[in-house]
């Protein structure tokens, strides 16, 4: 019996280290692909000035869809900020998703909105619309008041009411760079027939100076939880997504900022209801639809920082966010399980879906098991010291290498942290996140898996400090 137990422990440990090694190699490949793609992007970007895009008439009009739920305090400022974006032709559609506070009244009063009618085609399903509001003073603004149905439902209502060929889903609590739409529309101008979705890079606004709904001075957060997330966002948004974009296997376009072709989204039935990972689900649905019908298409990721969001500064809120993200990923993998490792779906099935299944579902469980089993096996003599050290080296040393490398990639190409002091802080965070933060994240992912298995739904409460208050600190 003891022999079999020892054998089981040994094989589990070996599996844990092998998966970690495979993950490290995949990250290394991502780093290389991301470097190539970033270089290409910078050269492409150099070729067109945003002002020309603004005046040239080649850009497609965009409908900005802004789902809002209990955003009473910030909605008016956000609408003003969105109406001031640099773009030739766009409309802002704010969808009040049955807020329990005075979100609608705040917008109606401050912007002088009145009830209006607008003809629309019910192309995708959503809950009942209670009223539409507009104002002659802001002709490109429409506020939809509807029954609560969740973010997907709100976005579907926005899609139906939108009038332009492209729509951009934006979180009501995000800040868009004034040239954000000009940056993300480029791929649509360059490949109008093939492009169906473009994702923009999200950065954290904690520590930045915000004035009139715009980031006026870049800064780093003083809060250590937020600082770790800055490094994490760099790794996720600059390294991973850029690499997936290069392989046309990008599975996530952040719900905080993404531009989609309206007709393509309608073809796949819009956003799915009853999911907390509606952003990933839509992108996977688009891949699936086009791959199953052999229709050529492409999606691209724009690494310019176009959207700024506020990161949770407390571990409790971060935990809620991360467990929700994990549930979203699992829901999406369940809904499209036939795509996982399927060659029929090309790079999306084998690389993209395979990656999420292996490293987002199996990975955290195996890694956490490894935290316990490998030291234990070493202590009781099942594993050699060399094996234990190899595990630690992969876990910590390789982790540090990847975090620091993605930071280097960002700074060498985009130079987004102007001061040497800020760079030093980020380097410190890139090292330290491998000791504690990474492990916590894995535990939260397992908790997310548990919640998914117990069929937990809903978003949970996400308390944010707000840009105005963050700025006063």
């Amino acid at each position: 019996m003891t022999h079999y137990l020892r054998e089981a422990l040994w094989w589990t440990s070996l599996f844990s280290v092998s998966l970690l090694a495979l993950q490290s190699l995949v990250y290394l490949a991502q780093l290389i692909f991301a470097s190539i793609e970033l270089r290409r992007h910078l050269l492409r970007q150099k070729q067109v000035e945003p002002w020309w895009l603004l005046t040239s008439n080649v850009t497609l009009p965009i409908s900005l869809l802004v789902p809002a739920f209990n955003e009473e305090k910030s909605i008016v400022e956000n609408i003003h900020s969105l109406l001031g974006l640099n773009y030739p032709e766009f409309e802002v559609i704010v969808i009040n998703d049955g807020s329990k506070d005075n979100t609608l009244m705040a917008a109606v009063t401050a912007l002088g909105l009145e009830r209006v009618d607008r003809v629309y085609h019910l192309a995708v399903q959503h809950k009942t619309i209670r009223g539409l509001y507009g104002s002659p003073k802001y002709p490109q603004l429409l506020v939809i008041d509807k029954e609560n149905g969740g973010k997907s439902d709100a976005l579907n209502a926005g899609i139906n009411l939108s009038r332009y060929p492209l729509f951009c889903a934006v979180d009501a609590d995000s800040i868009l760079d004034s040239n954000a739409l000009l940056q993300v529309v480029r791929p649509y101008v360059e490949e109008p027939d093939l492009m169906i979705a473009v994702g923009g890079r999200i950065r954290l606004a904690n520590g930045c100076k915000v004035r009139n709904g715009q980031i006026v001075e870049f800064g780093l957060p003083t809060n250590s939880v937020a600082l770790m997330q800055v490094v994490e966002y760099i790794r996720a948004f600059l390294m991973a997504r850029l690499a997936w974009s290069r392989m046309n296997a990008m599975l996530i376009i952040s719900g905080a900022f993404g531009v989609f072709k309206r007709t393509a989204t309608i073809q796949v039935g819009g956003y799915s209801h009853g999911t907390v990972g509606e952003d990933m689900d839509l992108v996977v649905k688009l891949h699936r639809y086009y791959r199953e019908r052999n229709i050529p298409y492409t999606m691209r990721y724009v690494p310019d920082p176009v959207c700024w969001t506020e990161a949770p500064e407390s571990l409790a809120i971060l935990r809620r966010q991360r467990t929700r993200w994990q549930r979203g990923t699992l829901e999406c993998l369940r809904n499209h399980k036939k795509m996982i490792f399927s060659p029929k779906y090309g790079a999306v099935g084998i690389l993209g879906m395979g990656y999420y299944f292996l490293f987002d579902v199996i990975g955290p469980i195996v890694e956490v098991a490894g935290y316990i089993l490998i030291p234990l096996c070493w202590l009781i003599g099942i594993l050699s010291l060399k094996f234990f050290l190899a595990y630690l080296a992969l876990l910590a040393a390789f982790g540090i290498f990847l975090s620091v490398s993605s930071l280097l990639l960002e700074e060498l190409s985009l130079e987004e942290t102007p001061s040497a002091r800020g760079l030093l802080s980020l380097t410190g965070a890139a090292i330290l996140e491998n000791f504690g933060y990474r492990q916590l994240n894995n535990l939260w992912r397992i908790e997310g898996i548990w919640q998914f298995l117990r069929k937990k739904t809903g978003w949970g409460t996400m308390t944010r400090a707000g840009f105005s208050s963050a700025q006063k600190k």
């Binding site: 009618d117 490949e191 094996f387 080296a393 540090i400 620091v404 280097l408």
Partner: protein
């Protein structure tokens, strides 16, 4: 197990390397920030100096003596910042000053670089020096194997007023595999001066990519000749080209363009019908009303919507047609009623 030892060694080496690289980056950033501040101040000084000496060609040699090798690099930067902002004689003098500093030779040398982006940058820099050998070198660069270099060479030649013939440009730049905003921009800038050539190319070219670029460029000046060319290709064009033509003629109210709108309203492609309906609205021609009214029954929502929207823009008779449709049944009544409510006219 040697593999384990290798894993330990590689991981540690990579971590150590990343530490070292990060340390170097922090030091470099600190150092560069200081240098940048100093260089910025020097560039500002050199801009003033350059503007001063540009007006005194006889003192160019004196300036050359005043500036060191490092300053020459900064002077190029100062030149790049200044030249787009100045005009006339002063600009010419500034260019002359730069020539005496050897910018042309440096640019021509850079045009031979094995790195394509260096060649691209060289094309950009050389646009200020319209000399025979520069023009020749840029013409040669139009045959470069890299698309962005060809685009930049063409732009530089156009900026010098030495743009090649339109068919040559189309052959080099308008392949279906490459799309570039810069190409569209280039053709737009040539739209006024090369109208005849563009019309002739539009009539002789069957490549959709080339046609779309030409239509976009010609839409800036919709002369009778341009309208006539659009009319000639319209019948045989693809849906994309037809839509582009209809978009281009939307701003003109030339009666000669009307047959295209009429044909577009009856086209088999919903894309074309929707665009034609929108264009008909901007024409303010009541002849469109029967056709637009018919399109209110179209199976495509966007076609129905565009037709209804255009009827509202045709005011009196258009609105009467819309009211009439709203009083009926089916898809037409639904869209017409909705639009009238939206406009507050129900």
């Amino acid at each position: 197990m040697d593999l384990l030892f290798t894993v330990i060694q590689v991981s540690l080496a990579m971590a150590a390397l990343s530490f070292l690289a990060a340390f170097c980056l922090v030091v470099e950033r600190w150092h560069r920030n200081r240098i940048r501040e100093r260089e910025r101040a020097r560039i500002d000084q050199l801009i003033v100096l350059g503007l001063e000496y540009a007006e005194m060609p006889e003192h160019h040699s004196a300036l050359l003596q005043q500036i060191g090798k490092r300053d020459r690099r900064l002077l190029l930067q100062a030149f790049a910042e200044t030249i787009p902002k100045i005009r006339g004689e002063l600009a010419d003098q500034m260019v002359e000053l730069m020539r005496s500093l050897g910018v042309v030779e440096a640019g021509l040398q850079q045009l031979k670089s094995w790195r394509w982006w260096r060649r691209m940058e060289a094309c950009e820099k050389l646009q200020w020096h319209p000399q025979e050998r520069v023009i020749q070198a840029l013409h040669d660069a139009l045959d470069d194997s890299v698309f962005p270099v060809r685009v930049e060479a063409a732009r530089a030649l156009a900026a010098m007023g030495a743009a090649p013939e339109i068919p040559v440009l189309l052959a080099k730049l308008a392949s279906a595999g490459h799309r570039s905003l810069r190409v569209a921009e280039l053709f737009r800038t040539l739209g006024d001066t090369h109208t005849e050539q563009m019309i002739s190319a539009l009539l002789s070219n069957t490549n959709d990519a080339a046609r779309l670029i030409l239509i976009d460029a010609l839409s800036q000046s919709t002369t009778p000749e341009v309208i006539d060319a659009f009319r000639q290709i319209f019948g045989t064009a693809s849906a994309d080209v037809k839509s582009a033509v209809l978009r281009a003629i939307a701003s003109t109210q030339d009666p000669a363009a009307w047959p295209m709108v009429e044909a577009g309203l009856q086209d088999s492609s919903p894309l074309v019908r929707a665009q034609a309906a929108t264009t008909a609205g901007s024409f303010a021609d009541t002849r469109a009303i029967p056709l637009l009214k018919q399109l209110l029954h179209d199976f495509e929502w966007w076609v129905r919507y565009s037709a209804g929207e255009s009827l509202t823009r045709l005011k009196g008779p258009g609105l009467l047609a819309l009211w009439d449709a709203a009083a009926g049944e089916g898809l037409a009544a639904e869209i017409a009623g909705g639009l009238l409510r939206e406009k507050g006219l129900a």
